[in-house]
């Protein structure tokens, strides 16, 4: 990746982290969990138990967004 293009992204990312922190949120856990899932999916070693964990996480996110506004 071109560092000259990455640097502005990183600088803006600092602002992102601050906003998320202000909102009491962190996307870090979600990204980490997805990274683990991807490794298993690529290895072809996905089990029903893995699916259960993914489904619970997605259902929670989906339910939160889908509530009446």
């Amino acid at each position: 990746m071109d560092l000259s293009k990455l640097l502005p992204v990183l600088l803006k990312g600092l602002a992102v982290a601050q906003v998320l922190q202000n909102q009491g949120q962190s996307a870090g856990p979600a990204y980490r969990a997805i990274r683990v899932l991807l490794k298993k999916a690529e290895a072809g070693s996905v089990t029903d138990a893995d699916l259960d964990v993914t489904e619970a996480d997605l259902d929670g996110q989906m339910h939160r967004f889908n509530r009446p506004i």
Binding site: L20, A27, Y31, A33, R35, V46, M62, N66
Partner: protein, 148 residues
């Protein structure tokens, strides 16, 4: 009051949080979430494929929830409520379709799994498009120029 532009920056750069965890390689992998293609008998919905679409959808909803939270906190334009309602038209069916897809995949009922998978992939694509129309970029792809 924070501007809409600030929110756009916020959502489009959620991705930056992942840089310490693998940087560009991580984003390249994320691209597979949104490029699952169309399911068919020749390209069935395996558990691995289901896992990928679920993980991709999770990432999309993390972004959508950030948008909604900022909207409800009054940190962005007042029109965001209507914009979110427009997106809900497409996200609510996802909540109904996903359990069906999961059941079909577990039973290896590929005829129905393929049909539902393609519907879900279309819905996710529409949701991302609707969010983008409102300046909310869900970061699940990477171009050759870097994350976007």
């Amino acid at each position: 009051m924070r501007s809409l532009a600030h929110l756009v920056v916020t959502l489009s750069l959620l991705a930056v949080l992942a840089l310490p965890q693998g940087g560009c390689q991580f984003f390249s992998k994320l691209q597979t979430f949104t490029e699952l293609g169309t399911a068919s008998i020749a390209n069935p919905v395996t558990k691995e494929r289901l896992q990928k679409i679920e993980a991709g959808a999770t990432l999309v909803f993390v972004g959508l929830n950030t948008w909604r939270d900022a909207c409800e906190a009054g940190q962005i334009n007042p029109g965001c409520i209507e914009q979110i309602r427009a997106v809900l038209v497409y996200t609510r069916p996802l909540e109904q379709q996903l359990p069906r897809l999961r059941a079909f995949v577990r039973k290896n009922d590929q005829i129905n799994a393929i049909a539902v998978f393609n519907e879900i992939a279309d819905l996710i694509s529409i949701v991302k498009g609707k969010a983008a129309e409102n300046g909310v970029i869900i970061p699940t792809t990477e171009s050759s120029n870097g994350p976007k």
